[in-house]
Amino acid sequence: MKHERKQCITRREWIAGAAGTIALSGCSRNQPVDATRPVGPKPVVSVLRAPAYTQDLYDTMRRLLADQRLDVRGKRVVIKPNLVEFDRNTAINTHPLLVHAAFEAFRASGAASVKIAEGPGHRRNTLDLADAAGYFSTVPKFEDAFTDLNLDEISKHSLRLPLSKLRDIYLPNTILGADLVVSMPKMKTHHWVGATLSMKNFFGIVPGGVYGWPKNVLHWSGIDGCIVDLQSVPARTFAIVDGIVGMEGNGPIQGTPKQCGVIVAGRVLPAVDATCARIMGIDPNKVVYLNPPDRPHYNDESLITIAGESLHTVRTDFHLIKEWSELRLA
């Protein structure tokens, strides 16, 4: 009897309920949804120990892709390393062995095609730079697999809800036509933005053939906004950060090598970069491009599922120049 009565709604109860609904809907109109709060399942960020650039990386990369359940069968994959300078003995460039290990892992995973592509920001002679950085001697038939994004065919791309002053930008067709773009940066400090990781690495997709060397239009349009805008261009992204030997101090060019011994990877680039920042002893809450308005923030560790090593076991504080000393993670 009691149960039946509960199923019957009296006129008084309906009116009370309706009034409550209206009141609540009014509240929701006044209190906008917090767009910086991520929705959906927590992104998984893999943190793997890798003490050196050895042949073990090939197995590590295959395990990484399996652990991340990254289905690339039949997909066009483009790997975007960070190539900056003619030097294989410093920590400026993404190490070629790690890039080749990723290249082979994606091929073994059934990708329809795997390309390596980069558009350096200062030096025009990309293939010579890649040669000096050890890519030709490490990646068989490197020239066949490589695209110079500075000189690639281009198309105009309109940015959706840009944070920077850019509204549209010419971009390489190799990037626009890829099913998956894999950002493979070096884990480095950066004298303009604090740290350069998987999101900032996308500056290299902007064609120097149109905008020059350096791609100064990005600086005049707002560096932090451009970092956020560019990482959202590819249809699908993945990040594999070379933190085996990173760069600390006055990066991204004039810093010093820093042994860190990790590879950090995942599908959600801001989550990967926030994790890298914590590993480097940098507070992601203080890195401007990791805190954009109206975009999800992943700076709270509880918003990410860490697979592999726990962050406190791999944390390796990178030296910060005095201009960025306030970024230090407590």
């Binding site: 200062h122 002679n125 010579d128 040669d131 065919e153 010419y170 053939g209 149109v210 060397w213």
Partner: protein, 281 residues
Amino acid sequence: MIESLQSQQNSDGGWSYHPGGSSWTEPTVYSILAGYALGDAGGRSKAISWLRSTQQADGGWAPKPRVPQSTWVTALAALIPSQDLGQQEHDRAIRWLLDVTAANATFMARLRAWLSRENSSDPNDGWPWFPGTAAWATPTAIALLALIKENKHHPTRALQDRIAGGQKFLLAHRCTDGGWNHGAVKALGVDAPSYPETTGAALLALSDINSVALKPSIDRAEAWWKDCQSSEGASWLMLGLRAVGRPRSGCPETLRPRTIQDQALCAIASAGDRGIQLFTV
């Protein structure tokens, strides 16, 4: 060399950076200049027709026709002999170059720099890669070459003022080692090293000034010549060193041209051995 360049010319008359690609202004101009260097006029009229057809309404050139924005490549087009490009087309290109100002050279930019205690007296009368941005070494060097060449034929005060400003910019943005990089001499107070290609191009653009002032740059260029790792770099060093009376012969065979433009530049630089100096005469 010329057969290789001719075989890579697109049906529209232009060249791409890589075989099979669509035409871009920069490799097209270098390939045209390589034709002059090699004494071969094959394909030239078709190439110049493409160039004339792609000049923008403002008198400049875009990197490629689908980008409707004149940029630094206008200086390259202005290096084509005016009797071939067309006097009107050439004059409009020179006017475009004279009118372009780097974004950090405007009054407001200098005021902002002064207010933020940056060096507002830093010479910024160079040229940007892309309008609305700052001046950098390579576009400034190429613009200077075009204006210096023009000033030899039709000297004006406006040309001379702009040439002086551009040369002042290059000298102010010389690295501590005597050479040039992309144009940032220091990063947060730390000296940045030079590059061979920009050192060669800047030396070429400054070759008519006092040689004492250039001594450290010549020394740096000669050091780079022994240690250069790209065909592009070697070509620019050859051009720069020859212009200051320190000629080096032949691109090192170990350095492979990577692009069509590298091939063309190598031909232009090597022509100096035969007395052909396209950028300065």
